[in-house]
């Protein structure tokens, strides 16, 4: 564990040095990110000017859920997306994955952490700010127990999102030219912004069990606003472990399938 933290630290340090030399990259990415958030908030405003609740959630609760989902996505993108994004196009197709396989570290983790992006963490700070604003402006009362359970569920949500990202990218081992996979998680994560009640029962079941992307943000935020449900608390830990084992297992099968591009 300490080894991975040290590797992470070096990579972060270098990402910071690299990005700070070209501040325009950070500035433009953060601006684009904030613009996206602003447009979505306007979209929510339009919806809530016509209705008072969305699946029983008011505007500020939905705003909090949206901002919290963005925090999870931004932290994951900052930490892992850079490496995973290049996985199909660079590492597998060109055979650069060879060098990850011959290192005495977990290849899945090394690929994931290989290219951190600082601007995503800066964007996450703004998104945390929106969360605070939603609580303040919506006069949302939060108990200490709710908050502690929220932190617990957020931790699992963060890890669950990572494992789901792995599962969307891992078919690259078999389908080398399926580059659209790198955008799949971005598309799927759009559903995280809505309370689960907005989805029809069948879709909701799928998004909570088969591919539990909705559980990532919805369960922690629900626990923050409403009395904590023990089944949610157990469920998120359970699916995180199950999907962790599944992601790791399929990755190992992929490693066996890996044929390495010729030199």
């Amino acid at each position: 564990m300490i080894k991975y933290l040290k590797i992470n630290w070096i990579l972060f340090k270098n990402a910071y040095i690299r990005d700070s030399k070209i501040p325009g990259v950070i500035l433009s990415n953060v601006t684009f990110h904030l613009l996206d958030i602003a447009v979505t908030i306007v979209f929510f405003k339009i919806i809530f000017s016509n209705i008072s609740e969305l699946a029983g959630w008011n505007f500020y609760q939905v705003l909090f859920l949206y901002a919290f989902a963005k925090v999870i996505i931004s932290i994951n993108n900052g930490w892992f997306r850079g490496g995973l994004k290049d996985f199909a196009t660079e590492l597998i197709r060109r055979g650069d994955y060879d060098f990850y396989l011959i290192k005495p570290v977990d290849s899945m983790i090394l690929v994931s952490i290989s290219q951190p992006r600082i601007y995503n963490f800066i964007a996450a700070l703004f998104e945390i700010g929106i969360c605070f604003y939603a609580v303040w402006a919506g006069h949302i009362q939060i108990g200490l127990i709710n908050f502690l359970w929220f932190l617990y569920l957020s931790f699992f949500g963060l890890i669950l999102y990572y494992f789901l990202s792995i599962l969307t990218i891992v078919p690259t081992f078999w389908f080398i030219r399926l580059w659209s996979l790198q955008d799949l998680m971005g598309r799927l994560s759009q559903v995280m912004r809505y309370p689960s009640g907005v989805f029809p029962p069948f879709i909701r079941t799928i998004l909570m069990t088969v591919f539990p992307i909705v559980a990532v943000a919805y369960l922690p935020v629900y626990t923050l606003f409403y009395p904590p449900k023990m089944e949610y608390i157990i469920y998120i830990a359970l699916i995180t472990i199950v999907f962790g084992i599944l992601a790791n297992f399929i990755w190992q099968i992929g490693n066996k399938r890996y044929s390495s591009a010729s030199s």
């Binding site: 590797i7 270098n14 055979g95 060879d98 011959i102 005495p104 390495s260 010729s262």
Partner: protein, 326 residues
């Protein structure tokens, strides 16, 4: 004692193709890259793998280093099955590929080295000792703070080699380490490899298309073609077996020299510009040489072995002939 032992290794690559007009029917295309290959390599050996493009050299190296799984066969490298990728095994090997970078493209070399220190869990003292040694031998102090993307190919290769030796690997797989390098850089890399093999007693497995690399570094060569081993042994013996004759080159200064050359004994004679080249079997060598020394000045005469490239070509030709007969 064998540090690498591989028996009956085969590797097939299967390509699945879908296409019109039969979209739903799969078409499987299988290519055998390595075919029933067995080898034994002892500790401290410097072995060269030779063969044309697509012969299976790199695939075999990747199997031995654990990058890919074989279709069939067994291998034992340092007491481990390579493709199980045990971390204790991976800590004892390194691979250098002339056409790929293991170092991080955007990072200064020293940062990549620092990261490898953590990846391989190299003790700080050992890391600095090895790094200082490599920096001195490869004369690359000024490269440490340079980003990989700003380096020339030769500079990059120096850094790749440094990265590979930081953790004191017992086996180093080198896949065309001098490809694309100029003569001076290639020479310095070869000198370094020879030195490191001697001082660190590590086993080096090398593939290269450059005969200079093989001749200078490897006593033992393994020739592969179509995934099959066609020769495994001493390079000098290979030359004796497939090209036992010598090549005599005589500098022809004037027309008189050319006339004398035309009258020399020996069947295989040719003149290229002002050089007369004659090939003589060992049994006639004494006779022909004394005749040459009677007619030409000694400083204008060079006697040498047949070039290794030609020897290898002959090996392939003989193999093709024998397989055509069968």
């Amino acid at each position: 004692m064998s540090i690498i032992s591989a028996s009956n290794i085969s590797k097939d690559f299967t390509k699945v193709q879908y296409g019109w007009p039969n979209f739903w029917s799969r078409h499987l295309e299988t290519k055998t890259a390595v075919d029933n290959l067995s080898i034994q390599i002892d500790e401290g050996e410097l072995v060269g793998f030779l063969g044309p493009n697509g012969a299976g050299k790199t695939t075999f190296l990747k199997i031995l280093s654990g990058i890919i799984h074989p279709t069939l066969g067994q291998a034992n490298v340092l007491g481990f099955t390579p493709w199980q990728r045990n971390h204790d095994f991976l800590r004892q090997i390194a691979i250098v590929m002339g056409q790929k970078n293991q170092l991080w493209w955007d990072l200064p070399a020293i940062d990549s080295f620092n990261m490898l220190k953590e990846v391989y869990e190299i003790p700080t003292r050992k890391y600095h000792k090895n790094l200082d040694q490599m920096v001195e031998v490869l004369n690359m102090k000024e490269l440490l703070t340079k980003r990989l993307r700003n380096m020339s190919l030769g500079e990059r290769m120096k850094c790749e080699l440094t990265a590979s030796f930081l953790h004191d690997p017992k086996i180093i797989f080198l896949d065309e380490p001098t490809i694309g390098l100029d003569v001076i850089s290639a020479k310095s890399i070869r000198t370094f490899l020879k030195e490191i093999n001697k001082t660190k007693k590590c086993t080096l497995i090398l593939t290269s298309h450059y005969m200079g690399d093989i001749e200078e570094l490897c006593k033992r060569v393994i020739i592969i073609n179509h995934g099959q081993k066609i020769y495994d042994g001493d390079l000098a013996e290979l030359k004796n077996k497939y090209a036992p004759e010598k090549e005599i080159i005589i500098l022809l200064n004037d027309l008189e020299d050319k006339k004398k050359f035309a009258h020399l004994k020996g069947k295989n004679k040719k003149i290229i510009e002002n050089k007369g080249i004659i090939r003589v079997g060992k049994e006639d060598l004494g006779l022909v040489v004394s005749e040459i020394f009677d007619n030409f000045e000694i400083e204008n005469v060079v006697i040498q072995d047949i070039e290794t490239e030609e020897v290898i070509t002959r090996v392939f030709e003989k193999k093709q002939e024998s397989s055509a007969k069968n």
